[in-house]
């Protein structure tokens, strides 16, 4: 019972956080809102999730819905991380090139 209350509190805080925090991208905001709502519903009553899964046409119910969401999350995370690394790489390249141009060695 205490554990359930703890999880409800965590998901509730996450949901409030997703609403209050200013995100740079709307997709990140929606993703956190959706995830925390789903978590909250799962802890409160699993039948809600089963209903959602049924509504979405997922035969296996909550279990399959979680599986699909996990795949989607992993996929999105990979894209996000790759893009982030690429942007950082671009910044490092720009910075290194600028430093090198500022210290050109003319042995002439």
């Amino acid at each position: 019972m205490i554990l359930k209350a703890m999880f409800i509190l965590i998901f509730l805080l996450m949901l409030i956080y997703s609403v209050v925090r200013p995100f740079s991208s709307i997709s990140s905001k929606l993703f956190l809102m959706f995830g925390s709502s789903l978590g909250l519903l799962s802890v409160t009553d699993l039948s809600y999730i089963n209903n959602i899964a049924e509504l979405m046409g997922i035969q296996g119910g909550a279990k399959d819905l979680y599986l699909y969401i996990s795949f989607l999350t992993i996929f999105l995370f990979i894209i996000y991380a790759t893009e982030r690394v690429r942007n950082l790489e671009k910044k490092i390249i720009k910075l290194t090139r600028q430093i090198s141009l500022n210290s050109v060695n003319k042995n002439k």
């Binding site: 090139r97 042995n107 002439k108």
Partner: protein, 234 residues
């Protein structure tokens, strides 16, 4: 008042050499070029051997990347630097591993001064095809076909490091890829900017050293990756 092409000499053509760990052949390559060219810019792309120390004692302009960024980034740095030099008319890009000949560089430099084209690409497939290793030939020809298909530029060799480009053309190019895909992006940009171009035959020395340095299968795979990047660019 702007100068005419024939007002320029080889002193207005800058040799650009991207470099990464070439200490064993570097001295030979540069001293040979210095017999003809007075302006040589070497971009040390984060070498971990003694290349940088060697260059400090040579009569060249040395630009040093503190970390290895890739051939494309090295060339781009050199381009950015050359664009700040008033007397520069064109650049000739030249590989540091000794596979290009000074004779070809002189030919390219004279040609870019005299011709109306903005860029001259080197090609191994007009006269010297038989010197190219078989696997390399197959990969390069495939890469060329794909590149020609995807861009508005028709070339016979899309991955030749020897090129001559006028400064006014460099200013029109928007290249930001740091690795080998730089070559493809450059071609895409030539097509986009509608620059005038032509090809000149080059001789590539496939020495044991240059093969070891990346002219083998590994390099072929990099070119294959480059084709995928090109599709992404389009």
């Amino acid at each position: 008042m702007s100068k005419k092409n024939n007002d320029y000499t080889l002193d207005n053509v800058y040799i650009v050499i991207p470099l990464y760990n070439e200490e064993s052949i570097l001295y030979e390559v540069i001293t040979d070029l210095q017999k003809t060219f007075s302006n040589i810019i070497v971009v040390d792309d984060g070498s971990t051997d003694n290349s940088n120390e060697l260059l400090k004692d040579m009569d060249v302009t040395l630009i040093t990347h503190s970390i290895n960024l890739g051939q494309g980034a090295a060339i781009k740095t050199a381009f950015e630097y050359v664009c700040t030099i008033d007397q520069a008319f064109a650049v000739v890009t030249f590989d540091a591993d000794g596979q290009h000949s000074t004779k070809d560089a002189i030919n390219f430099a004279n040609e870019i001064i005299g011709c109306e084209e903005d860029i001259i690409f080197g090609t191994r497939f007009i006269e010297n095809e038989e010197y190219v290793p078989r696997l390399k030939r197959v990969v390069l020809k495939f890469a060329t076909r794909v590149t020609n298909f995807l861009t508005n530029v028709k070339l016979t060799d899309t991955h030749n490091g020897l090129k001559a480009i006028k400064i006014k053309a460099i200013k029109k190019l928007n290249v930001d890829i740091s690795g080998y895909a730089f070559e493809s992006q450059l071609i895409v940009e030539v097509g986009r900017a509608k620059l005038l171009y032509k090809e000149i035959s080059t001789h590539i020395s496939y020495t044991e050293y240059s093969m070891k340095k990346g002219q083998g299968i590994r390099n072929s795979l990099i070119i294959a990756e480059d084709i995928i990047n090109l599709m992404r660019l389009k």
